[in-house]
Each structure stands twice: as C-alpha cells, then as structure tokens.
Point group: C2
C-alpha cells in the first residue's frame, strides 16, 4: 500500500526511519534500519499515519527467511500491523480524522515511521487502549476470532485443541475460548511457559513430545476443532485426532522454519515428508463428515476482494466491542526498538514470548547488559526487553498489569 521505493543512501530532514528487508549480492536476506523519503500527501481514499508501535508475528519471521508466499522482491518494508496517529487524510476519508489514534492492518509496509494506507482497514482505537495494545491487536485477535467463531463455529461443551498457546494468537485464542461455556481447552506450548499458561488452559502438552495418545485419553471421541499454526506433522496429528464431524483449520505454517533449516542441513531423517506430500483424501473427508480449512490472513490482505476487506473490518469492530466490555485484553510480552528488530524476531523463533512482541520506531536502545531473561513469569510477560521505565516517550505502561493475561469476566458467548 505504501510506496515501497527504498532509497537507503539518503538522509535528509524529509526522510523517515524504517526497517527494510534486503538481499545481499550473495543472496543473504537481512533486516536493516534505514531511511526513506517521507510519504507524499494521501490520495483521495488514503490516510497518512505517524506510526507509534508495530506488532511482530510469526509471519514476519517467515517473511524474513523467504518462507512466505507472494512476498515482494527485496528490498521492501515488512510488517502487517501497527498503531499510530493520523497525520493527514484524503478527500474521500470519513472513518477517521486528523489526530485520531488508530490501528491498521496492512499487507507489508508497517515497520516505518510514517505510512500511507488505504482507508478500509484503519480503525479508531478505544480511548482506554494504549498504542502498544493496539499494535498487537489486529493479527492475533482477528485470527483467533475468525478461527473460533466464524470458520470454527465453536459451540458450548465441545473440545478445542490448538498449538503455541503462549504465542500472540494462542493468548487471544485462550481468552476468546473462555467466552464459550463448558469448552474443554487442550493446547501445546513450550514447557517453560506451562507455569503461566496452566491457570488458563485445561490440558497442556509439550509440543515437542508426541501428544496424540494423551489427547486421546482426554477426548476419546476426538476433538471438535483443531486449530493448527504449525502444519507439517501437526497437520497429520490434527486430522488423526479429529472427531467424526470435526473441523481442522490450518492458519499458519510455523514449523516450516525448523523443517527448512533441518532440510538445508540434511537433518530431516525420521521426520515425516509432509512438506513434500501434504495431501488429504476428499473421499475420506466425505466418509467422516470432516472438514479441512485454510485461513490465511496475509493472503486475505493481499488478494481479498472489497467484500473480504469489509468482512475483516466488521469482525474487527466486534472484537473491539469485546475489548470495551473487558472480555479480552492484549498481552504485550516485550518491546524492542526498530534497531533491535532481530532480537524481536529471535524471541518468536526461540519461542520465548508469552503474548505479543512489539517494535517501536522511537524507543531508545539500551545496552545489552541491562536485559534480563525472565520470560517465565506468572504475569505472562517478559522483562528481557525494555522495562517500562526505560522505554522512552511512547511508553504507555501496558506491560505493568500483572493480571493482563486473562480478564476475569464471567463467561458469555459473543
């Protein structure tokens, strides 16, 4: 949406800071902070926004390593979500005004100091929502909401299984699934997150162990809804665990990263060959009345029709309502500067985060030795990035609340 024209060697007063993904002559892909010219005035249907905070998701990791489909040719500005303040609007824009605090979904281009976007996926944020909370809201909650309530159509008394319970979408799924009466929630996560997650999820399993037999004991009839952000072996496991008449939804391919690395080094011996043969039988689905769905928010942002974008916008408004009612609350795991973007991605790659990771253009970098590693705290947040007291002028203190993992409102179905 924003111009992707990158001019790395210019640094005038009319330039702005951004992160670009570039490719070296040897083919190496790397993230780099640089400057690009300020965007021009917005066209009729466009909005110019000063970015305050950007969400980082696993799709950014996959894009970084070239493992996402339809990514632009480097150099380009990555990032799918950000919050900020409206600087200027085109003549046809009526949904926001100059000075409004907004959050935006975009197909790349988010990691910049300023950005021009089309008006239809720009949302005013509630006054009680901080820029940091807003920046991590769209991808995680939109995905989780659509998975559970739209495609998944989850009902009371059913059984739900999902992975990466400590990740951004995982935390959103955990919070939203509490709105469904008498749901049995089964999830996988890294063991060091169990202490935090145990209070919110009925059955937790180490993702790296074979969880199938244990899950079968809990749900002998099978699982009603399997939400899979991993793909690979977890696709086969998910389908195997599915109840007669159940639904499997693939919404991410995060295990592609480790598979690619292992494949590059010839280490896939003993792993299934799913990535070369990801096929399922239509007749088998028919015999079992099962469903296999794909949900790919990034592709929807790129290729979705106006109807699709309206649908995403309508859904965002429903989710804001849940936020205002206190039923959900974004969890910020840690905040990094643009210059620390590799550390931010590293948190996701190492599965250290509980909740979402944020990068901010104006946060001041701190020396490495200040950082502590305390990911596994009951607060569901890490302090190995900047503490709120050192996070600069845009700090809005959203990682101070120890109860921020799960709101304690009575369960009710949205």
């Amino acid at each position: 949406m924003a111009s992707n024209e990158i001019m790395t060697n210019k640094n005038s007063t009319s330039d702005i800071k951004c992160i670009i993904l570039q490719q070296t002559f040897t083919g190496k892909r790397e993230l780099k902070v640089t400057t690009i010219p300020k965007p021009p005035a917005p066209a009729d249907d466009e909005i110019l926004i000063a970015v305050k905070a950007c969400g980082v998701s696993f799709n950014d990791v996959l894009a970084r390593y070239g493992l996402l489909e339809d990514i632009p040719r480097p150099p380009f500005v990555p990032g799918f979500e950000f919050s900020g303040e409206v600087l200027d609007i085109g003549t046809n824009v009526t949904n926001v005004d100059r000075g409004d605090r907004v959050v935006v979904l975009t197909h790349f281009s988010a990691w910049s100091e300023q950005i021009i976007v089309k008006k239809d996926l720009v949302f005013k944020i509630p006054k009680e929502m901080s820029f940091r909370e807003a920046a991590v809201f769209p991808v995680a909650y939109l995905t989780a909401y659509i998975l559970l309530f739209e495609i998944g159509n989850i009902k009371p008394n059913q059984t739900l299984l999902f992975h990466s319970a400590g990740g951004g979408v995982g935390v959103a799924l955990t919070q939203l699934s509490k709105l469904v009466p008498n749901l049995t929630i089964i999830a996988t996560a890294s063991p060091h997150k169990f202490e935090v997650l145990r209070a919110h999820i009925h059955y937790l399993f180490d993702h790296d162990m074979d969880y199938i037999e244990d899950v079968k004991k809990i749900a002998p009839d099978g699982i009603d809804l399997v939400l899979d952000c991993m793909a690979g072996d977890d696709c086969e496991r998910g389908l195997a665990l599915l109840k007669f008449n159940g639904k499997y939804i693939m919404y991410g391919t995060s295990s592609l990263l480790s598979w690619s690395v292992k494949n590059f080094f010839g280490l896939t011996k003993g792993m299934s060959n799913w990535w070369q043969n990801d096929k399922i039988s239509c007749l088998r689905l028919f015999q079992d009345s099962k469903s296999v769905h794909g949900f790919n928010l990034i592709q929807l942002l790129l290729r979705g029709s106006n109807d699709t974008r309206s649908y995403l916008a309508d859904t965002m408004h429903k989710i804001f309502l849940l936020y205002k009612e206190g039923k959900i609350k974004p969890v910020v795991d840690s905040v990094f500067t643009f210059e620390e973007v590799n550390n931010a991605l590293g948190k996701l790659i190492d599965r250290k985060n509980i909740g979402k990771v944020v990068i901010e253009p104006f946060l001041q970098s701190k020396p490495e030795k200040v950082k502590k590693s305390k990911t596994n705290t009951p607060q569901g947040r890490s302090e190995d990035a900047h503490s709120s007291s050192t996070s600069g002028p845009d700090d809005d203190n959203d990682d101070k609340d120890p109860d921020d993992f799960q709101t304690n409102n009575p369960a009710s179905n949205p």
Copy 2:
C-alpha cells in the same frame, strides 16, 4: 435398528411385507419383496411404527450396487426415511404417542411394513403434511439445510453452485436458497429438466457438458459455495471454480455409479483418475483460505454420537417450522409400490425424476401399459407412475398441486 433377521420362506398371518437386498450365490445383488416376522413389542426407548410411505434417494441406489461404505452384509432391509403411524411405544418414550403420524430417519431398515426404531429421530409431522410429503422430507431437507445454513453458512449476495438440481436434495436446495436475499444460483441438471427448473434457478447448465468456462463468465471471482453430490471430476471442477476464501462441500458420490460401470467395462479412458487419486493439498487450501468439507448423512446416522443425533433432531424441527410457514414444500415426483422398487431406483439412475421418488407398501400395482412418460412437466412431477386416482387407499393427493415445486413466499432468511 429394526431386526434384520430375514426369513424369506415364511408367510404366516404374523408376517409383514418388506424389501430386502439379497446376494445370490453368483454374487449378484438384487432387491426382492418378501415377508419377515412382525417386530416384537418395542423396548423402553423404542417405537413401533406402521409404515405408510418411504423416500428413495441416491444413497439407496449406491447401496443397491454395493457402492456405499459400511452397508450391512446382505440380506438386509434398505431405506433411510419413512413416514407412518405409531402403533406402540416403549415405557421411556415421551416425544410421540400411539396413533401419532410421524416421520423417521434411520440407518437402513425403512422399506418395511412395520419397523421398530429408537425414539430420538422420530418426529411428529404437521397435520397439513401428507404421509408422502413426510416420507421425502428428512434426507433431502436436512441435507440441504445443513449444507446451506450450517456448514455452508451462506450469506446474502453470494454465489452458489450445485448439481442435480432436479433431484430430491436439488429441489430442497433450490427452495431453501430462495430464503437468502440476492443469492446467485447456478446449477447443473439433465437438459430435459431445464424447462421446469429454469423458473427457479438463475443459471442452468447441462451437467454432461464442461460447464467451467461458462460458470467463470458468470462468476469471474469464483463461487462462494460449491455443493457437490457427484464427486469425481466434479470435485476437481468445484475446487477450481471456488472463490478465494470459498467453500466446497462434498455430500454425495453419485458419479461413482457410472464410473464403476465404465471401469468394469474398461471404458474410463479419457476420464480423470480421481477415484484412484482423490487428493488435495492442505497447503494449497491454506494459501487460498479455502475449505473442503464432507457431509455424509448416512454415516452420521450410523456413527453419530448422541450429540450428533440431537443436532439432527434440532435441525429437523427448524425445517418443520419453515414448512409450517409455507416457505418450503416437498416435491413428490412419483409413487411406486414395494414390488416396483427397481423401477423407482431406475428413475433415479436415469435421472428422470424432478423431486423425490416414493415407494409404499400398500399401493396396488398397475399394469405396465398404464404408465406414461411425462417427467418434463412444469409441475415438477411425473405421471409415469401411479396417478393419484389409482394409487390406492393411502393416496393423500400430494402430487396434485401444480405449484408444488416452489412456494411463492417472500424471501427471508431463516
């Protein structure tokens, strides 16, 4: 559910008439009218019913030729739906009483003069609904309703494609889809049915022609919901026509019959090898945010949990409500005696019917020469079986209404 113990050589006064599927010593499968002992008194949760009329569906054709999964070993009594009068109830039965007019969904055993069934899929029929209408109601309307409104979750302004528009489910789909505002309805059918169907479906195509290019012209962005009762090549076509973010639901495998015949005679040259390789790529579904569903009512009746059976029952009540509101009306194509069951199946195999075919235990057979072939009438019914004036004591005149294909009520979403 009813006892499948077949005693073909007995014919005492305590015997009842039924149709059995038997297998000869040479392996030939055939349908035969015979007698079996009267059922015993119903157990606590059971109901004994005197059968008035039975619906015939394409699943009966597939069962006849051994092309359905999990069918009993012959001899057994076929049939999945029937209407009748309650003769006796078990001590735990409260949903119906002796003398009630009911309709029943069952996993086989329907084609009998009397039958004992479990209580949970027995429904009282509205007083304005005839036994014939009732007998063809459950399979067609339950399937169509779940496909459109539950799994398909069809929305106004979307585009729908389905096959066999003149079949039992096809007619139900046509009627129910009229309840969704501004839906674009595309369907395939046999050309001789076009005259009848044209008034109710926006775009009609000959199923035996390659309809893909024509459909693409009507819906350049693709189809939102493809409902496929054929499988085989239509599965590939359906997936190819699907809109980004669209849904494909396989709910039948009727093309398996012609494929099996052609395969037996070595005539499949030029046909796709779908029946040997019915695979789809999970990653492709993920990239396109598409869904592939199976819906198999017969398997749900056999293997569905109590929850599943409750769900089917709840859905039946919703559909009865639509009937009472005059929004849907079953179409009876033709009525046959038990003795004419092969003619009844032949109607479906030859795709001659518009609406449902009924068989009745007490209808008197008529000489062959009385039959006329007038399938292609605007009334959406055939007169090549018994006319209502010759159909015996159980005739309740439901094939007399010339407007019975489509009710003319204002569109509204259920």
